[in-house]
Symmetry: C2
Subunit: 337 residues, 2 copies
């Protein structure tokens, strides 16, 4: 392994000079800089991460805590993770992958050991048990998702409230009066993951404002669960013509079942989904949808974190404005029969 000292010797300067060339923290003359850079090239020098971390008290690592369960929005999680990793690299950081398994202990371990300089937490619950720890440490962190109390925290998320409102508005504009919401699995609500509830709030309050009738039904993914849910919806509200779906794995079942029942999309029934664009465009009907901007969330989280690490930036909640893309699954409400 090549060390700083060897590079210094090779370039005929002192070790500290090489260090300053690398960090740019003091001015270095052109000639020296070039000689050092040349030596680094020739010797194939890479600074030792451990030594650097020890001396500078900075690991240049960002910890990313992903949820352990893989029952929900997996592609979104993955896309966020990848966006985080690539964005972090552009700022000179690497990413440590932590699973939710260890829970709060992982936070303690990482902050305590100086393994990472900062953390990003995904899938934050409304009243997450890791939050007190984050508030109690001076290590910067960013949450992807919104807990109940955001004081002293930095958060990034899609504005799910506005997302719900947007879906309702779109359907209302097309003349739909009876709207059914196919929600996430009951477990998601029980777990108090904020986004599901916030969407629902948005849907409800905007429906009220617009005088629409809204029926919300949680739903596990898959055909069987969807069949039951759908039957109950039409049973309770036979005039339902608009659907809002917020469960990736319910999308295709819903479309299939509607087709099977002879309800044409979008002629008889309109469907708006909240899902990644990929799902929307690959479904059997190209779906009008509000995209989940995974990349943007990941990128934003890192930018905020880096700002904090650089002493810039403060606690703030960044809500990404939802965008609804009209595709083939929504149309004017059918004339009242």
């Amino acid at each position: 392994m090549v060390t700083l000292a060897e590079v210094a010797q090779h370039a005929g300067v002192s070790a500290s000079t090489v260090s300053y060339v690398l960090s740019g923290k003091r001015s270095i003359s052109m000639g020296t800089r070039q000689r050092v850079e040349q030596s680094i090239q020739e010797l194939g020098y890479h600074p030792n991460a451990g030594a650097r971390a020890l001396a500078s008290n900075r690991s240049n690592i960002i910890a990313l805590m992903v949820p352990l369960r893989t029952d929900m929005y997996v592609p979104v999680m993955m896309e966020i993770a990848i966006a985080v990793a690539t964005t972090a690299r552009t700022h000179g950081y690497d990413v440590l992958l932590l699973t939710g398994e260890e829970g709060p202990d992982a936070v303690r371990r990482v902050t305590g050991s100086g393994l990472a300089d900062a953390m990003i937490l995904m899938d934050v619950e409304l009243d997450d048990e890791r939050l007190p720890l984050l508030r109690g440490t001076d290590q910067p962190s960013v949450l992807i998702g919104l807990p109940a109390d955001t004081s002293g925290l930095t958060c990034v998320d899609l504005d799910f409230g506005a997302t719900g409102a947007l879906c309702v508005e779109h359907l209302a504009m097309l003349g739909h009066r009876d709207i059914a919401v196919i929600g996430e699995a009951p477990a998601v609500y029980e777990r108090h993951t904020g986004f599901a509830e916030r969407t629902l709030d948005g849907l409800r309050s905007r429906s009220r404002e617009l005088g629409l009738r809204l029926l919300h039904r949680p739903c596990e993914g898959g055909y069987d669960a969807m069949a039951v849910t759908l039957a109950r919806v039409f049973d309770e509200r036979p005039d339902t013509t608009g659907f809002v779906v917020q469960n990736e794995s319910a999308v295709e079942p819903l479309l299939g079942l509607l087709r099977q029942q002879g309800r044409a999309v979008p002629e008889d029934v309109s469907v708006v989904a909240v899902c990644p664009d990929q799902v929307a465009t690959q479904a059997s009907v190209r779906l009008t949808s509000v995209a989940i901007p995974a990349q943007e969330m990941g990128r934003n989280a890192v930018e905020l974190l880096v700002a904090k690490l650089d002493g810039r930036g403060t606690d703030e909640v960044v809500l990404i404005a939802p965008e609804l893309t009209t595709r083939a699954s929504t149309g004017p409400a059918p004339a009242k029969s």
Copy 2:
């Protein structure tokens, strides 16, 4: 931050003793050990990762390189990543998430800087440009996937050859003679990702042995692409009664289109998929499938790596035997019309 020295002082022993308590590399008397552990508890001590890495030349970090693209088997990748992370933790390792973006440079950077003790590479191509680097370093590594030349490398993968054979056998046993393979997107083949080709080899050679007629068509995911592909298949081989699908995002389109064409599954047409169980059970017809054992692959990779790091274990190729689960999408071939 609490340091070793403070713990030592608090416990009334020397720093080295504390270190030995932590590592267990020398025997320590019961009394001392307990006193030290007590102090560690009380002070909330966490060893500093950087210092440890510097002194011991071990970071206790495993690097995981995931592919950058998210166009393929994303849930599988995620599941592997999570399995890697959790398994690594049980062995005292953390996981560094690298994206394929940097390519070979990432390998150089990580091995050069001592950031990680070992690497796991996912989505290895047949003639991957990172392989020479791996062979040239003494840092242990494990590949998930199989390159063309495995000499000097340790690899874990599903036995895709046997997987192909298994699919064909299953269909043959049910009396199907004309089989169509809906493959991955053409890009996947062009990229020379081994698994697609190996599956195809398995399918072909077993078909030949069993005297079946096999038609292979690559296919992008989605309904439109699938519609074109399917039309061509039945055009070319009208007697096709068996399908093998190896593209998650083609599964649902295929089922939808078959239904639309009035071909019942499994009465008229049987479908075998190679996909994660979750996809198989959530499809509109519960699919007979060969599972992609993501968890097992991730876990295996880590176990092999840890073995290498401990000086046990050697280069070897671990092929996981495929298992076919019969569900509702396959049945006896219809009587010849």
